[in-house]
């Protein structure tokens, strides 16, 4: 089910888990706001990870924690420090892309 959500003056489409369903609606302001909602205070390193995730998504590369750990951007430990608890879920939510389907 897709719902409309108001965020920093923008209307975005999200699913029941809060993941954006239309990446074209995303911008850095929205990313910042989604981060705040998830109790993340964005730093340049956070943005580096988000940019990497978005690039992989645009290239249709399936994402996984292992993949990000081997990206050269962060190792898994750092990824957890930046986005605690469920980093892939939180980072993809902020990046405005669907929840990765690494879990089947």
């Amino acid at each position: 089910m897709i719902m409309l959500k108001e965020l920093v003056g923008n209307t975005i489409d999200v699913n029941e888990e809060g993941f954006m369903t239309d990446f074209t609606q995303w911008n850095t302001q929205i990313g910042e706001a989604l981060a705040t909602e998830n109790e993340i205070s964005m730093t340049p390193k956070h943005w580096e990870v988000i940019t990497y995730i978005q690039t992989e998504y645009k290239n249709n590369v399936p994402l996984s924690i292992r993949k990000i750990g081997k990206s050269g951007v962060v190792d898994i430990k750092e990824f957890y420090t930046l986005f605690p608890n469920a980093p892939l879920k939180t980072a993809t939510k902020i990046a405005g892309i669907p929840k990765p389907v690494s879990c089947i």
Partner: protein, 460 residues
Amino acid sequence: MFKVIYTDNQYHLHRSQTALHLYCVICNSISKESKSNTNPKTSKTITMKHKKNILILGAGTAGTIMANQLVKEVDPHTWNITIADATNTHYYQPGFLFLPFGIYDEEDVKKPIRSFLPDEVKFIQDKASEIKSEEQQVLFESGKTIHYDVLIIATGSTIDSSEIEGMNGPEWRKSIFDFYTFEGAKALREKLATWEGGKLVVHITEMPIKCPVAPLEFSFLADDYFGKKGMRDKVDITYVTPLSGAFTKPRATQKLEYLLKEKNINIVSDFAIESVDNENKSIKDYSGKEVPFDLLVTVPTNKGSQVIEQSGLGDELNFVPTDKGTLQSKVSANIFVLGDATNIPTSKAGSVTHFQAEILFENVLRFIRKEELLPEFDGHANCFIETGKGKALLIDFNYDHEPVEGTFPIAGIGPLRLLKESRMNHWGKLAFRWVYWNMLLKARPIPFVKARMSLAGKNF
């Protein structure tokens, strides 16, 4: 250059080719060199018509079904079908779940590979060491090289406990076990038989894993097993998963979490393991969470075959990038991938392989006939989930539809119930072993069960 190899009264021509010319008539260019390479026994038949080769790597569920299907349709005057595997034993892998609890014996889960292959298919017991896709050749450990015109990769997935620090340390097979291998399941049976209780942790390292519901089933069966032994009160069972819940699909998760609660099994979710502490017997995750154990039953990282890595054909887990609809590899047009070896976003399970095989079989024939491939595979999976005490659940889903309640395989009738515990489902699971050995591997149609998922009889 031609190399002529004499095998089973047939000559197979092997030639280096840099491009795919599936239909090129190599026989037109048979060199004098090869003709002069005569064998007295067969020299009369050396007016040889060169045959083309379909090579299948891996004689597990996927490879065996494929060999049985292809042999019925491809022209034996034009094509040789060869299948290679490192071992000569076929394991009924779903049976590994039952082995630790003594429900199945060793003999229930292993049979000779050869007895499931048609006589017309050549079986080679040898381990593939490299796939050279440019040259259309596979190299084997024995030093043998086989040329192919069509390659079907069915090399499956295996566990790799060395991926996590400490997992295969001093406690491996003492208090840390797997049940995804025949040896692991047997060792665990010995352990469970004498174990006096404590903290049992059932754990998934990372996704994807083969048969993603197996660790849940293991937890349910453990509850039943210790209950029957009259020692359930001495065993604390915890299910630890990297996922956010018991399963990935919302409605099944809800149902399965209810069952875990009912059976007094704790769940720890979003647990991304970093290391196993052998000394203090605990698993630790990257966020600092720690779960202590007396007995750890883990599903280590699942990876594709080494030959995929050695050939540079896989992703970071050695799974082969594959088109999710046609099952053609993204490596080369004449390489197809079947079963657990693919990277496609569906479960790695026998049922999935069975459904894929029907689609792939059709596409291999189309490829041979130079027709367009059909993107027909819909991600269909159908899994029994043993819940203990003689009951089971059944789930049926695909790329687009999550498991829901309903009836299967006949809409409105069943006799199996979807996403509901029933005794009939349990009998279905036990009967499936017979179906597996006698129908599925031999590619005999299973009544009412279709490759593409049916929406009928389901309550969406």
